[in-house]
């Protein structure tokens, strides 16, 4: 896994602004096969191609086990042994890059660090200026609605608050891209709806390119400019759907006929992809 450049906050902003034309994320022909401990192989991805533009909010939906997390881990530089190429900010990457901030399904906060110290952690790893990180962390905590909780330990927060802290942490080094892998999957439905409204606001305010992985169709339609629909394993993008609902969107958008129609369309696509699979398995 490659080492990433040690950027200061200012430099990383400068790099962010230098590339505006080309897609921020472009994948070509991604294939990934896992070897299981039993000696079998699992074909997780087959020919995954997609682009994400600057400032765009793109979601990837698909049935569970179709390879969504695998896509995320390839983008984040957390796995290798795949074929195809990943291009981030106009450059082919083979490992972690500071252009990306990742939010995982679990908040993965360090329980021994205060909320503030958790948010400044990327600064420590990237050797960024301490004072600047501290100030920025306070701003981000306010942005995610955790102002006043700086001194708390993660163990004292609710699940939703921990995910907010994880989002603030992912934004600390001012990456161009925010990558989220089912970030609200473990939350209850009400909290999840609220978090989605918050995420839309944070993404807009921070001006980030967002790539969200989810298995909730409604969530993807509510948040995204475009939704990539993935087939069941081996995963590939079977359809890209543009969401033209006006922004900013409130939760009332679910009553919009276009919202319902889009959700239905994506559901049909996913059903077709899984039932096609069923036919294949039945035929054997």
């Amino acid at each position: 896994m490659g080492k990433i450049d040690r950027l200061t906050l200012d430099e990383s902003v400068a790099v962010s602004e230098s590339i505006t034309r080309a897609p921020v994320i472009a994948t070509r022909g991604l294939c990934k096969t896992y070897a299981t401990s039993a000696g079998e192989t699992v074909n997780a991805l087959s020919q995954v191609n997609f682009d994400v533009g600057q400032g765009e909010f793109v979601s990837l939906v698909g049935p569970s086990g179709c390879g969504k997390t695998t896509v995320m881990r390839i983008l984040a530089g957390l796995i290798d042994g795949y074929t195809g190429s990943v291009n981030i900010g106009g450059r082919v990457v083979h490992g972690p890059t500071p252009h990306i901030g990742v939010v995982f399904q679990d908040a993965n906060l360090m329980p021994w660090r205060t909320v503030l110290a958790n948010v400044t952690l990327p600064g420590q790893v990237l050797r960024l200026d301490k004072k600047a990180c501290h100030a920025r962390a306070l701003e981000l905590l306010a942005l995610v609605g955790l102002g006043g909780f700086e001194k708390k330990l993660p163990g004292e927060l609710s699940g939703g608050m921990r995910q907010r802290a994880a989002i603030a942490r992912a934004l600390l080094h001012d990456p161009r891209i925010l990558l989220l892998d089912e970030p609200f999957g473990a939350l209850d439905a009400m909290t999840r709806d609220n978090m989605n409204v918050e995420l839309a606001r944070i993404a807009a305010e921070a001006g980030k390119t967002v790539f969200l992985i989810t298995h909730s169709i409604a969530e993807s339609v509510f948040l995204s400019d475009r939704v990539l629909v993935m087939s069941s394993r081996p995963g590939r993008i079977i359809e890209t759907i543009k969401i033209d609902l006006p922004r900013p969107r409130s939760l009332d958008v679910v009553a919009d006929p276009m919202f319902a129609a889009t959700v239905l369309r994506i559901r049909r696509l996913l059903e077709q992809s899984t039932s096609a699979d069923l036919h294949v398995t039945l035929a054997h």
Binding site: A76, T97, M110, W112
Partner: protein, 282 residues
């Protein structure tokens, strides 16, 4: 010998710290008053029974001393002078042995947990040594390290090494991969992953090992002195035992209880300082 049973028992618990920690809590402040009263009543009851058994000649006073005779024995011991030096001898043997064990345990444990080569080379020996009752080395260590402090430090070090070593390995290996991913996604170096995630994550395990190790070290120093010494609390016990001065033996045991509690208290304070975040703490 009861020392042996103790060692086996504590060593077995050392590997699974979370399960047992709750049961061993000595937290007087939080105990409700009736509980505390019952505890003292129990102690008083046991002492009174002993006193009665010995007083009426049912048990010989060479087996159990009259509880009331321990008090003058204790006074004699403290008043006689030289006790401080004996305590200092035993405590410094235990502390030095423990310090060496901690340094070796942490560094070898880190090597084994972090480097596959080290694991493959050292792990088989580790398993073999762990199953051996290390206290049996005491006589040999006396030959190797001499009659003075050296052999006692060696015994204390050898038996307190394993809880530290085993728990360091377990702690470092127990690290949640999700937390490591957070750092890896930032391109963190292996050293950063170690210092920012793995090591703090291992602290509860390491402390659990240390708690056992502190008591092991004290036991090791005493056993070393039993085998052959010219000062220290273990030496005093053997002396008193040889002259059948059982009240004095018990007086020394009381002093050992105080020393042990002080060590335990110190560990608890360190724990609270470093493990404020761990849900298993009080």
């Amino acid at each position: 010998m009861t020392t042996q049973d103790n060692l086996a028992g504590v060593e077995a618990t050392a590997v699974s710290p979370r399960l047992l920690r709750g049961n061993f809590r000595l937290n007087w402040r939080l105990r409700p008053l009736p509980d505390l009263a019952l505890t003292f009543l129990l102690v008083f009851g046991v002492l009174a029974t002993c006193q009665a058994l010995v007083y009426f000649g049912i048990v010989s006073r060479f087996v159990i001393p009259l509880p009331t005779s321990i008090v003058p024995a204790l006074g004699e011991l403290i008043g006689g002078g030289g006790l401080g030096e004996h305590i200092l001898t035993t405590v410094s043997e235990a502390a030095t042995g423990l310090a060496i064990a901690v340094v070796i345990g942490l560094s070898v444990g880190t090597l084994i947990a972090e480097f596959r080569v080290a694991e493959r080379i050292l792990y088989p020996y580790l398993i073999a040594l762990q199953t051996m009752p290390k206290i049996a080395l005491a006589p040999v260590l006396l030959v190797w390290f001499g009659f003075g402090l050296g052999s006692k430090i060696a015994v204390a070090g050898v038996i307190s090494l394993f809880p530290v070593l085993v728990n360091t390995i377990a702690g470092l290996k127990s690290c949640d991969p999700g937390r490591l991913d957070v750092l890896r996604a930032l391109g963190a170096s292996r050293w950063d992953c170690f210092r920012l995630v793995k090591l703090p994550n291992a602290l509860p395990f390491i402390f659990s090992g240390l708690s056992s190790a502190v008591m092991f070290a004290l036991t090791g120093a005493l056993v070393g002195e039993f085998v052959g010494a010219s000062s220290g609390l273990g030496y005093l016990i053997v002396q008193a035992n040889n002259s059948m001065d059982i009240p004095q033996v018990f007086a020394i045991l009381l002093i050992l209880v105080v020393v042990g509690m002080a060590a335990f208290g110190g560990m608890q304070r360190a724990r609270r300082k470093f493990l404020y975040w761990s849900p298993n703490q009080d």
